[in-house]
Amino acid sequence: MHPIVILGSGLAGYTLARELRKLDTAVPLVMVSRDDASFYSKPMLSNALAAGRSAAQLAGSSAAQMSAQLSTRILAHTEVREIDIAARTVQAGNESITYAKLVLALGADPISLPLEGDAAGEVIRVNDLADYARFRTAIEGRKRIALLGAGLIGCEFANDLAAAGYAVEVIDPAPRPLGRLLPEAAGNRLRAALEDLGIGFHLGRTARALTRAGAGLRLELSDGSVIETDAVLSAIGLKPRTGLAVHAGIRVNRGIVTDRRLATSAADVYALGDCAEVDGQLLPFVMPIMHAARALAQTLAGTPTQVSYPAMPVVVKTPALPAVVCPPPAVAGGWRVESDDAGIDARYEDDRGRLRGFALLGAATARKNALAQRLPPVLQ
């Protein structure tokens, strides 16, 4: 009997394996991972520094432990070179594996901004646990960090670095932090809370060049201003890993295209997590992965199941001013914002007065579940 093969050992791959084992303890399962395949919490990478957590402390279970727990063969440190959808094989390292079903849980790569200058290669990105270990080494004993990106992960890193004692300068082309997720008043409030920690904002600008300056670095921005810094961290977004799928002739748009059963255009090949564009949506967050993994486990165990997404609030871990966002779909409407000293409660209502999204800051975050229950599902 050929195995179900899962490419990737991130949250998507491991959650799928776990959900599948609840339904079927016998089906042979193989997981292939580029890294050491330890299980860890990716959302914690952007808020582990101030808590003093090392990469080793963040690693939960090793590949050997996961392999025993899930009755799964795990090929760690193994690069998948090719998928052959006609022969139903994957070339993993030097081994050719024939699959009964194949699941692409490949994740996403950080987007890199093209920078000029002799130190452009020094920009740090933190997308997995090994990156986090390198990041910790790179900033050890340093004081100043320039951070590219004031989105969700950028804001979390800024808060974490500042709380750990670093002098942080944040650069983003948007006029406010979390510019795409928060209405203006909420973005301004978050900015003020982060500024209170000593974080500097350089908004409406992009980084242009990074050069060496003595023992430090010199970051030049699009308006000609200069930030002297010790390290540059980039957190400007993710791009689904689609190369293997493209090469195999599997349909790709922004991500690997799947229907609501997580099925790709190739027979018996599925995709989930940050690499997948499920029914037209890219949702690189934890909650959608959980829902998709449960549905796909059912399908793989013999009960074809479509994924449903309820409204899924996204938590922004900025202890200076905690935030929860549930971005509205592109429908006509407007924000209704209530603000007091303890926080902001912003609700997006459509033209018929129905709640379609929200952004909560500070004490108002306690209302996230009550509000989420009033929102229509993302995929019914």
Binding site: S41, P43, M44, V286, M287, M290, H291, A366, R367
Partner: protein, 57 residues
């Protein structure tokens, strides 16, 4: 009273504070939270992932 953290998403559960907005009273111990409880941030079931203890008071 202990503080626990979800090993998937980092959600923190403080027994002393409980989760009043989710119907879990302040002072509820992790052991006393129902088995069908799911992490409010990531949806992981209590049965799937034990929360890791981060601070012992």
């Amino acid at each position: 009273m202990k503080i626990w953290q979800c090993i998937v998403c980092g959600f923190v559960y403080d027994e002393a504070k409980g989760l009043p907005e989710d119907g879990i009273a302040a002072g509820t111990r992790w052991d006393d939270i129902p088995a069908d409880w799911a992490c409010p941030d990531c949806g992981v079931a209590k049965a799937d992932f034990e929360m890791a203890e981060v601070v012992a008071a």
